[in-house]
């Protein structure tokens, strides 16, 4: 339908945040809007945020769940800083998120939820719509519940089921405002409710009602369009980090000609990896939901001994429980990937919030001298490659590898330019089927290049051997308490890991290489740091950045790269863990930008803080 007085303004990017009660379906609305925008061809990045409680009391701030998406016609790296548009389904959502809304931002309120009791529950003394605190924003009040009830009158549905569709009003209205077609979501609804056609029809009616409300109400006649992004050519999918990581593991197994074993115990935010891998049994994936974190790791060690690509996944507290088992894998020199989707700590901490505070634990959280390689994912799509890389190292070097992700990478999403899977290298293993000396099989006779020991699998005749956590004699693998042997084996395990520095990607520079200042990062801060450096360079501020994927060992050119700069700045979502490592390893006076608020850095925040540090 053409509207006479409709204006369409073209904008390069917009950040929209949907906020409501946990049960209001905000994640779903956000995901639908994201997928439609992805299919349209925008670049995008998303950030869901939900409370740790499944359903905190309705109408309270504790129960507010939100989903932020930035869509753009250019290459973006983060889900945006301050939203330009806030959809608040109730007073609590308004109270929790208003402070982030950009000046003159668009504020869409579900006015039916602004009853006295909800206003009080949210902690407001007076109705915020009348207190003046919404001045400076463009406020649009929409009677979402009334619209839903009227629209769904024709359906024979109970009242609660009717109101559940009010999120579709919001989605319809936002789709109108940003000129997004409804077909994709209609197809999705029909598919999702294929067995409940009445519910499907009702949701589509609500969706269209929201859209038509935009057409009808003049206030919404100024609409926006974000054009397709000029991304590199290719076939894209919208992926979050947990799925990317899962697919990376499946791919690694296939490329190593092994089957994948994944042992895990449910824990937020790592559980989605278990859920995703459980779906793909036709890839010969064995998923094992263990009785506890320890058993998940221990079963993975058993699977590794038997010749699987063995992986155990968890989040912060679970890594602590797996510590002893990781030491066993390290001592027995068995390949194992340990996934840690970091969250706020210590203890149960902030289960649904991002933090990078397990870096030291990944490097040093074991008894004895127990070095192992550590790899970190820097974005949702990179999680695929990080998982593949962790598996590559584990299999090639016969060692446990810790793969760090975090809640931001795990639950955020971005478009991924799909790789040609045939071009991904096959992964080498140390599987042996024959005796390795004339006199018999020596399970600890090492490869001269990698120092990896041979991987003899049960079922192979003639190679029967025993391995455990007691110190082993080099070569025979027999239990040995010999002093010189323990010194040698301890040194050997360290050499084996440090030697990997020559076999990983070099540290690369981004931004102005002639600058005096280098921003060093790792993990999920990649998007924010890169965007901040881009903004500063654009402003004429000389600064470069480099991002670690390998935290142990560091790439072999790290010292060379770092030495080119006078000032090193390290932003991290912890109190300075990479900072300590870099200072210790390279004896440089690096400075940190640190944050542990359960939120990631915004690009603007980093831009400002990096500039401040440069001028210090």
């Amino acid at each position: 339908m053409e509207i006479e007085n409709k204006t369409v303004e073209s904008i390069p990017a917009v950040t929209i945040r949907f906020a409501g009660d946990s049960g209001d379906g905000m994640q779903l609305v956000g995901t639908r809007f994201t997928d439609t925008s992805a299919l349209f061809g925008n670049d995008l990045a998303t950030l869901p945020a939900f409370p740790a409680e499944i359903r905190a009391p309705q109408g309270t701030i504790a129960g507010v769940s939100s989903f932020q998406v930035q869509i753009a016609d250019f290459d973006i790296l983060t889900p945006g800083d301050n939203p330009d548009v806030l959809v608040a389904m109730n007073p609590a959502a308004l109270k929790a998120h208003l402070h982030d809304l950009a000046p003159n931002g668009m504020l869409i309120l579900n006015e039916d939820a602004f009853e006295d009791k909800n206003i009080t529950k949210a902690g407001y003394k007076v109705d915020p719509r009348e207190s003046g605190e919404l001045d400076g924003y463009r406020v649009f009040q929409v009677p979402m519940e009334k619209l839903t009830k009227e629209a769904l009158e024709e359906f024979d549905l109970p009242g609660r089921a009717v109101l559940r569709s009010k999120n579709m009003i919001a989605l319809g209205l936002i789709s109108w405002t940003f000129n997004r077609p409804l077909e994709d979501t209609e197809n999705w609804i029909n598919d999702k409710f294929s067995k409940l056609p009445e519910i499907a029809k009702a949701n589509i009616k609500a969706l269209k009602t929201g859209y038509n409300f935009g057409i009808t109400v003049e206030a919404f006649h100024h609409t926006y369009v974000v054009d397709k992004a000029s991304l590199p050519p290719g076939e894209y999918t919208n992926i979050n980090g947990n799925i990317g990581l899962s697919w990376g593991l499946i791919t690694a197994a296939k490329k190593a000609n092994l089957d994948l074993f994944y042992g895990s115990y449910p824990i937020t935010p790592a559980s989605d990896i278990l859920h995703e891998l459980s779906k793909h049994k036709n890839f010969n994936v064995i998923t094992f939901q263990a009785e506890d974190e320890i058993a998940a790791a221990a079963a993975a060690v058993g699977a590794s001994f038997t010749g699987k690509l063995a992986v155990t996944g968890t989040s912060g507290p679970g890594l602590a429980l797996k510590s002893e088992t990781i030491s066993l894998a390290l001592s027995a020199e068995l390949p194992l990937v340990i996934v840690n989707v970091q969250r706020g700590g210590p203890s149960t901490g902030l289960p649904t919030k991002p933090e990078q505070s397990d870096l030291m634990f990944a490097l040093y959280g074991r008894h004895g001298e127990s070095p192992l390689p550590v790899v970190a994912a820097k974005s949702p799509s990179h999680a695929f490659y990080a998982a593949y890389e962790a598996a590559r190292i584990a299999l090639k070097y016969m060692t446990p590898v810790i793969l760090l992700s975090d809640n931001y990478v795990a639950t955020g999403s971005e478009p991924w330019n799909l790789p040609n899977t045939e071009e991904l290298n096959n992964l080498e293993t140390n599987i042996v089927t024959k005796l390795n000396t004339e006199d018999g099989f020596l399970p600890f006779l090492r490869n001269v290049d990698t120092f990896a020991r041979p991987w003899a699998l049960p079922g192979t005749p003639g190679l029967e051997y025993r391995v455990g956590g007691l110190e082993k004699e080099e070569g025979t693998g027999n239990v040995s308490y010999d002093a010189a042997n323990h010194q040698y084996m301890t040194d050997m395990r360290a050499w084996k890991v440090s030697n990997i520095a020559n076999d990983i990607d070099k540290l690369e520079l981004h931004g102005d290489e002639s600058a005096d200042t280098l921003v060093l990062g790792w993990g999920s801060t990649y998007g924010g740091i890169t965007q901040a450096v881009n903004r500063l360079n654009k402003k004429g501020v000389k600064v470069a950045s480099a991002h670690f994927v390998h935290l142990n060992p560091f790439p072999d050119n790290t010292l060379e790269v770092i030495s080119k700069f006078k000032k090193i700045i390290i932003p991290e979502l912890n109190t300075g863990q990479l900072l300590k490592l870099v200072r210790e390893a390279f004896l440089v006076d690096a400075r940190g930008i640190n944050k542990v608020s359960g939120e990631t850095f915004t690009a603007q925040e980093l831009t400002d803080k990096i500039e401040e540090k440069i001028n210090e």
């Binding site: 997928d35 590199p232 009785e291 699977a303 899977t421 005749p461 956590g469």
Partner: protein, 338 residues
């Protein structure tokens, strides 16, 4: 498994490592029983895997010329689960002790039994911590004086048979180190059992808890105290069978044979689906004191975890076809940018 029956000599089953248990330890007898049994069990040794935790018993894999993992205290059932489910062709045996299985590894034990993972768990129960030099264990009797309980243990001990039955174990049996024939018979039954088998083997620790099982081994007392559970046979024991077990109101009781009608004497049935009677038999003694049942308590068939996991994988492959990476990474929908 190989089609041609494989037979070995006991020496083929012995590794080249020197056995380092204390002289006189019951573990030697059990090792001999197991090696003799394995030599004739008909499975190629490359398909046998021994997994252990920590403790004296846990050194067992080093002495077997098979594949083996000496893992972490208590974790052997979990490690063995990973081995078994990864390669269902393997014959997987766990060797453990009372501290390892019932204390630090209690959780793993009950879940391996509940899931009916295809592993055989041999728990050597010496009612003491040996490797750490003599502290009371979860099966030590109340009042036991040890280095960590100089005034006597104040803890109620666990009954391993009751625990295993309560954990839904499909195979539960008890033997004693000195009785090689009984051990061999139980190992054979366990090997043939589809699913997890839990075998408690009373084992004398002659250094820290000597003669703990004397009532069951001493020539003068053993006849009166061994209740031999044999499938299909009446449970009578003692000199000339003058004692018998009857089940009254679901509860096992020891009576004088002469006082009951013969038809009332319990005829042992290892295949009884309901575990109540087996449980009740396990309550006849709480440790090797007084009349104590030995033999197979329970052996019932149910689906194994190992097989069911692979059935699901095979079904998935039948329904969806072998997984293809190119399809996988496109499964959420894609768009083209040109």
């Amino acid at each position: 498994m190989s089609k041609i029956p494989v037979t070995y000599k006991r020496s083929d089953m012995q590794s080249d490592q020197e056995v380092k248990w204390c002289p006189g330890c019951g573990d030697y007898t059990i090792l001999a029983s197991v090696q003799n049994f394995m030599a004739e069990m008909g499975i190629s040794k490359e398909k046998i895997v021994f997994v252990s935790g920590i403790g004296c018993a846990a050194r067992f894999p080093y002495y077997m010329n098979t594949y083996g993992v000496h893992s972490i205290h208590g974790r052997a059932p979990a490690v063995a689960t990973g081995v078994s489910v990864s390669n269902p062709d393997l014959s997987v045996w766990v060797v453990s002790g009372d501290g390892d299985s019932l204390s630090i590894g209690g959780n793993h034990l009950i879940h391996a039994l509940r899931k009916n993972v295809n592993i055989k768990i041999l728990m050597f129960n010496n009612q003491i911590y040996g490797l750490t030099k003599g502290q009371y264990s979860p099966t030590s009797e109340e009042g036991k004086k040890t280095k960590s309980s100089p005034f006597g243990s104040v803890e109620m001990p666990l009954n391993p048979m009751s625990l295993a039955l309560g954990a839904e174990a499909s195979f539960v049996a008890r033997s004693i180190d000195m009785d090689r024939d009984l051990t061999a018979g139980i190992l054979e039954e366990a090997k043939n059992h589809k699913g997890s088998a839990f075998v408690e083997i009373y084992q004398n620790c002659n250094v820290f808890n000597d003669k703990a099982f004397e009532q069951l081994t001493n020539k003068e007392t053993k006849v009166a105290n061994r209740i031999n559970l044999v499938h299909g046979e009446k449970t009578v024991f003692g000199e000339d069978g003058h004692k018998a077990v009857v089940i009254r109101n679901g509860i096992a009781q020891i009576v004088d044979t002469k006082d009951v009608d013969e038809s009332e004497i319990y005829v042992h049935n290892i295949h009884e689906e309901n575990p109540s009677i087996a449980f009740s038999l396990s309550r006849l003694s709480h440790g090797p004191y007084g009349p104590t049942p030995l033999g197979v308590f329970r052996k019932v068939q149910r689906d194994t975890f190992t097989e069911e996991v692979h059935d699901q994988i095979n079904n998935a492959k039948e329904q969806k076809g072998e997984g293809e990476l190119d399809k996988l990474i496109r499964s959420l929908g894609t768009w083209d940018v040109s």
